[in-house]
């Protein structure tokens, strides 16, 4: 059943996304534990998540979580519904499409704060220049 093309890819993506999410979970348990050291230390840790690079990594996490969740539903439909296997390929494509559909608004919302200063700087440049000397 899983030897087929789409079955293999769905399995591989499920495994890779799962391991990636687990790695993040372990890091996340450690960064949350900084709470015990008070506001300064904890906020310094959070500052890292605010950086553009970690915001991009968060996007990878969002994609991994939604793919893993939706493909998990697909696996359960195959397992618990007699006719589920017949739709396994359609459901794999659906999981990918829905992941991308959810990913786009998440990406815009998560990246917007990182690019707002850049956009503001770009558009304010002429005003700042004329306001100068």
């Amino acid at each position: 059943m899983y030897k087929g093309q789409s079955g293999m890819w769905s399995w591989l993506f499920h495994r890779i996304s799962g391991l990636g999410i687990l790695l993040f979970l372990l890091v996340h348990i450690v960064d949350v534990s900084l709470l015990g050291f008070g506001p300064r230390v904890y906020n310094d840790g959070i500052l890292l998540f605010d950086s553009v690079i970690v915001r991009l990594l968060s996007l990878a996490l969002v994609a991994a979580v939604f793919y893993h969740a939706l493909n998990g539903v697909r696996i359960m439909v195959i397992d618990f519904w007699r006719k589920g296997v017949l739709y396994q390929k359609v459901m794999f494509i659906a999981a990918l499409v829905v992941t991308i559909a959810i990913f786009i608004p998440f990406a815009i919302i998560i990246l917007r704060p990182a690019f707002t200063p850049v956009v503001a700087w770009f558009f304010q440049l002429p005003t700042t220049a004329s306001a100068g000397h």
Partner: protein
């Protein structure tokens, strides 16, 4: 059998042993995580920007014990689901008995340590005042 993991789907392990329990656990915890993780993602990335998930934000949230319970369930279920996944991956790729034992015990230890660290953080958190700024910028 194919080279793919026997636990991935469509082949529930018979016998009623740990593998059968594991097969059901992946699915039951998966349903719970579907809800818990998506709520968590929306709360921490959509309704609040990460730059505002500061100490003060956590202090306000953890004033409500139900959010601590929510986070503890998330911690426990995600960690056990994920570490059980790691166990399956080790089972699939590591065939040397000695290496297997080392890696499996290492992941069991890791599970215990991270579960304790997370639980301790959740239980012992007591907000200091002043709690600091609401957002980082």
């Amino acid at each position: 059998m194919s080279g793919l993991s026997r636990l991935y789907g469509g082949s529930r392990p018979a016998g009623g042993g740990f593998e059968t329990f594991s097969w059901y656990y992946f699915r039951i915890s998966g349903v719970a995580l579907f809800v818990l993780v998506i709520i968590h993602l929306i709360l921490m990335h959509i309704t609040t920007d990460v730059a505002c998930t500061t100490y003060a934000f956590v202090a306000a949230r953890y004033a409500n014990p139900w959010w601590r319970l929510f986070d503890w369930l998330l911690l426990t279920i995600a960690l056990t689901h994920g570490m059980n996944g790691l166990r399956v991956v080790i089972d699939d790729y590591v065939h040397n008995p000695r290496t297997r034992i080392v890696l499996l015990s290492a992941s069991a230890t890791l599970l215990l340590i991270f579960f304790m660290l997370g639980t301790l953080t959740l239980i012992t958190f007591q907000a200091v005042s002043p709690a600091g700024q609401a957002c980082l910028h």
